[in-house]
Symmetry: C2
């Protein structure tokens, strides 16, 4: 059991990114948290009163990570079948597994394992596609509330008679909208950590009636939306053929492109699509690991940011095979470099890639924290008064003790500059390095006090 003091004062060395290109190093600061909210962030010299938790010297504190795209029911298939073509992966493995969540006991076992594991990776907020089943979806919200993870949870609506398997198909558009509305109300009643999300799986799996019905539900209730958008050549072309317009345009027509709509992937969005989504206040859940396998292209994250699009990072469990957001950061940097450079040596260097595509580790960190928070529309991701205290304490040790299997340790004469320590922490820290994980001011996970290394 954890207990919550009214006010807790943390003395920290911390990093955060209030804006995309600016890394802020809080070298010796006190963060005061009252009932889960940050009330002040001050230099230690300006705030010398006693603290409750002193982390300076052997820890680096970061905002918690926001995973903007997770398929919760795919958790048991993490790391399997990823060599398969997407259609086969879905039809042979994913859909049969998703159908099992009609069993609430199975669902609860999976959700507990999933949420606990993601918390251990420092995922303090996750946007979940649950399943078609209302009970299992509400249960996921309940597990988030119980284990203390900020969860955006959506019942997956899908009713297209040709594009969905019978046991995962809503009975019709009206019933599907009705079920989603009811689930949203139940999720809304689970407390401040749980946020309902209207979740059409993607355009190909939904009839026109369902898409417009969910758009109307969003307009009437103000509930956020998440869906997939232009993930692959196949999806992009499928929508273009059916509607004669892009996926993004189509979502707008159906009233689904709104403030904080989370568009998963977006790899094939053209500049016009990116502008349209930005204007609507929507954004993209960029999932680099998954996209390497399934997207047929790299999402141009730098271009999207130039067009003021909201962007966060996502694991796309289980299209991605890594449970944490941390590894998505260094992959986001790496795939942006690959987009810039190209991949095929037989093409001349000048024509091989798309110049101006690279992002750096600071921008990737912004996407994983403040950017993700901005995309999903929750007051986390930055250490400033008024935001909720979702944070990680990464244990760091000096000089070659050999304890950290991640390779994370600071060496004299090598890691003296703060920007370099930041670089190392962001690229290397794994769950074994996370001493504390706080959500809403309460410690929810972490290895401190255990022998785990």
């Amino acid at each position: 059991m954890t207990t919550r003091a009214t006010t807790t004062r943390y003395r920290v060395e911390a990093f955060h990114t209030p804006s995309p290109d600016r890394l802020v190093h809080l070298d010796d600061h006190v963060i005061t948290v009252a009932d889960g909210a940050i009330v002040s962030v001050q230099a230690r010299r300006d705030d010398p009163e006693p603290v409750d938790v002193d982390l300076v010297g052997d820890h680096v504190v970061l905002p918690g990570f926001v995973d903007t795209h997770v398929h919760a029911p795919q958790w048991p298939q993490l790391g399997t079948g990823l060599d398969l073509p997407l259609e086969e992966w879905l039809g042979k493995h994913t859909f049969p597994l998703e159908a099992r969540y009609v069993d609430l006991g199975f669902a609860r076992t999976v959700w507990q394992d999933l949420v606990a594991t993601l918390l251990a990776h420092g995922t303090t907020t996750a946007a979940y596609f649950a399943t078609r089943h209302p009970e299992a979806t509400v249960e996921l919200g309940r597990v988030c509330a119980e284990l203390g993870q900020r969860g955006l949870v959506g019942r997956v609506a899908m009713d297209h008679p040709e594009m969905t398997p019978p046991d995962l198909r809503d009975a019709g558009a009206d019933e599907a909208v009705q079920l989603s509305a009811e689930v949203n109300l139940e999720l809304d009643a689970l407390g401040s950590l749980v946020t309902p999300v209207i979740t059409p799986r993607f355009v190909p799996a939904c009839t026109d009636a369902l898409l417009s019905g969910l758009g109307e539900l969003a307009a009437a209730t103000g509930v956020r939306i998440q869906t997939h958008c232009s993930e692959s050549d196949w999806e992009h072309e499928h929508v273009a053929t059916r509607f004669g317009r892009s996926d993004t345009e189509c979502l707008e027509v159906f009233g689904l492109l709104r403030q904080h709509t989370i568009l998963a992937h977006g790899d094939h969005m053209a500049d016009g699509d990116l502008r349209r989504a930005a204007l609507a206040g929507a954004g993209v859940a960029h999932c680099p690991r998954s996209n390497m396998l399934f997207a047929n292209a790299v999402f141009g994250v730098r271009r999207a940011r130039e067009l003021d699009l909201r962007v966060g990072l996502g694991t796309d469990i289980a299209g991605g095979d890594q449970p944490g957001v941390a590894s998505q950061m260094s992959l986001a940097v790496a795939v942006s470099q690959m987009l810039e450079d190209g991949v095929d040596r037989s093409v001349s260097p000048g024509r091989r890639g798309r110049p101006g595509s690279r992002i750096g580790v600071v921008e990737a960190f912004f996407l994983a924290t403040a950017g993700g928070a901005d995309l999903v529309g929750l007051p986390v991701g930055v250490f400033e008064p008024g935001r909720r205290f979702d944070a990680l304490a990464v244990r760091v040790e000096a000089g070659g003790t050999g304890r950290a299997s991640s390779g994370l340790r600071f060496w004299d004469g090598v890691d003296d500059e703060p920007a370099r320590r930041f670089d190392k922490v962001v690229r290397l820290a794994g769950p074994a390095d996370l001493a504390h994980v706080w959500v809403d001011g309460v410690r929810r996970a972490g290895t401190a006090g255990s022998a785990a290394a």
Copy 2:
């Protein structure tokens, strides 16, 4: 302290790949090991005598991983500076760090930390570029012998007056060859786990005299060679401009393209280069993580294998930011998919990538084990009589206990088929999942018996 019984019998469920495209599942077998060598591998029903170690049921056993390319002195800079252009990364960070290994105490601290961490990741064999310094290089061999890792260790020879910093430059070609020869003899005396390697850093850093001198040393002594080859546009073009021939041809001219020569990266090798290297019995250390950042292209591993080239996997520490070979396997699959599909959505799908480039997870596993062993020329990587027993026991648990932060666990009805369990183990297992790591029949690392998770 570990002690070695003359004979140890292990009862296992194991996987290995005696050939590149064939995954062999040993469902309930007994592996008998005498003085570090495998003497028999038999089905349990054919070998019912008592065993010493019974791992069936809660472990999956694999051959140990072979890391075919590691820069040992770069260990303290793991995960830093990777956004920089290669020249700046080398000049500002890498070379100043490498110069510190004149301090033997510093070297020993780093080597112990590095070797222990890699063993914890299941790297039972590593091919190391050490430093220019003879003492620090021999010390790395000594640490491998002490901690029980199979190490191929090379003194880095580099003497080019314009291409190397003064404090890392050999005094001249003759002295450099002489130093390398002496270090090789010292390494050779350290026991069966340590193998010397002749190591010209790469063609640009060496004078013609040094390259030919090292080629003669290899011919005279039969000592293996490792170097870089056609890593990036810059390196490839630099050699082409200096010699009017490809990096591969150039190495051949200098007598450096021999049986088991390890060519790191090779991303810009043309078909003719691949054929030439294959004919010589050389091969490529494919380093997918590093190449995503620095290589300007993806190594066409499938094409290379079609041309019968030896290929292993490498972390390229610290050009790559991950200590283990395991993550290189799934990245090798992913970057091959990116080469096949291309990266730039504005190019039409038919012209975007290079068809026929994809590899699967079985082939990636082959590269990490048997392929790497074949490349470096050591009798490991496959469970068959006559090979040394270098192996890993991955702890696996059934059904959602929430203990494994890697997400590695087996679910009823999901992971029933052996090929699927293999897939999951290969993609997800991290150091926390490795209960035992054996090298040469002796347990050297692993979390069994500790509370680490």
